[in-house]
């Protein structure tokens, strides 16, 4: 079987259809399953406690569940075969997009289940808290795709997850001034402004994911412009 020439290239949908099954198997399913399981456990905690559920506790447990899901997604672009499959004609952005397309519905399903586990009378506004979770997940994906684009590592997920955890623990609670608060209670007068900021974070994170989708940069070239007439790189 001779290699495919440009004259008889397959249709993109044929490549996508053929790739779906093996790509599904390359997903970091143990990390995603552990993150999803822990997230559901946290979201379901209020049901296990006696007494009326506390809305403030439920909100924070949902936030923690969202963080867990995001930590799982931080492993999405881990690829031990990265260097073996570097110079192939199927481009990396397509592979990345397919991974996202496979993982995001599962994460969304998991998040929906987490929301439903919270007792209705203590459930925070679904749209707002989903925005927070989406922004957190997008930040994790932005970190993961930036790590792939700017380093040679095959498994940056653990480092990205650790970084995200550190940021989640320190930035909203210790480093952000009160007027830029992100984690506010339902009914707080800063609620709408905080969610404006969450929306901004989501947009920025999605933009970073998109910008980091192309072929990885060469080591040490993160801040260096690519020489004219040379192709982008892969690794």
């Amino acid at each position: 079987m001779r290699p495919v020439t440009s004259e008889r290239r397959p249709k993109p949908y044929a490549v996508i259809r053929a790739l779906l099954r093996p790509l599904w198997r390359t997903l970091p399913r143990p990390a995603l399953a552990a993150a999803g399981g822990l997230g559901l456990l946290l979201a379901g905690l209020p049901r296990l406690l006696s007494g009326a559920p506390d809305p403030w506790l439920c909100l924070n447990l949902l936030r923690a569940a969202g963080l867990c899901l995001a930590l799982g997604l931080a492993f999405l672009f881990d690829d031990p075969a990265r260097h073996t499959t570097a110079p192939v004609p199927v481009r990396r952005p397509l592979r990345g997009a397919l991974r996202l397309a496979l993982a995001v519905p599962v994460a969304a399903l998991c998040w929906t289940a987490a929301l439903l586990l919270v007792p209705g009378q203590a459930r925070p506004p679904v749209g707002a808290v989903t925005l927070e979770a989406a922004a957190t997940a997008a930040l994790a994906l932005a970190g993961a795709s930036a790590a792939v684009r700017c380093t040679d590592g095959t498994r940056p997920g653990a480092a990205v997850a650790a970084g995200l955890t550190a940021v989640a623990v320190t930035v909203p609670t210790l480093l952000l001034p009160q007027r830029w608060a992100l984690l506010v209670a339902v009914g707080d007068q800063r609620w709408a402004d905080a969610h404006g900021r969450w929306a901004g974070l989501l947009v920025v994170a999605v933009a970073v994911v998109a910008l980091c989708a192309p072929e990885p940069l060469r080591r040490g070239s993160v801040l260096r412009p690519r020489p004219r007439g040379t192709a982008p790189t892969t690794a």
């Binding site: 290699p3 499959t85 004609p89 060469r218």
Partner: protein, 286 residues
Amino acid sequence: MTVTVSASGLTLRYGGTAALDEVTLRLTEGVTGLLGPNGAGKTTLLRVLATAVPPDRGAFSVLGHDPSTTAGRQNVRRALGYLPQNPGFHPDFTAFEFVDYVAILKEMTDRGARHREVRRILDAVDLSEVRGRRIKRLSGGMRQRVALAAALVGDPGFLVLDEPTVGLDPEQRMRFRELIAQAGEGRTVLLSTHQTEDVAMLCHRVIVMAQGRLRFEGTPAELTAQAAGRVWSSAERDPAARAGWRTGLGTFRNVGDPPEGADLLEPTLEDGYLLTLDDASAEVAA
């Protein structure tokens, strides 16, 4: 012979270090060996030619395709098989599944034809018996053959192999030599290695690199000839020798500039390689 891969003035720097310094070369069909010490720039050169990293300066073409454009790069990749220095795998895949996955990434979408091709390649690298076994359960040599199969799938016209025999036992290395020799029939193979015996036995051309530059380009016989009259035997290590070691016979084999009346020995390719490197170091020092 027709030139299939050509490069001129390839330069690539990592910070202040020139990994490639004005490298110009031409490859033809058959196996070309790439020798050099660690840090010589061999892997960088292979990664550039495999379109895994772009050069800072210079140009190259592979089988008539210019990789400086997106379309040209895609065409190079369609004609390329690449075995990196430390090939990684999805350990839960079987050998068949992994090679099949790489075949899809090489745009082979017809399932039946692709599976026939994967079976053919696994048979060629002698992995048919274990094709259903998970990669994490394969030996190091078998994994290396899975990586070679992944490089060979799709019958690429240009095969880039980065130290494929490292860590293999002698029997596995012999088997690999056989496979690489077969792969070199009708296609261009660039083989980076530290094993001078592999080059002596497999390659019709040899390139020696040091400090990012090409120091020698020619046939293995020509590289061996670099050491003609510069290898001698003595009862003690000759202090004038650039390298010398006691052999199994109890005498010393010295390489360098022999004294008058020295007992000259037949040089090997390794002697030629060592002297070429030594001459290159002396040139840099000067």
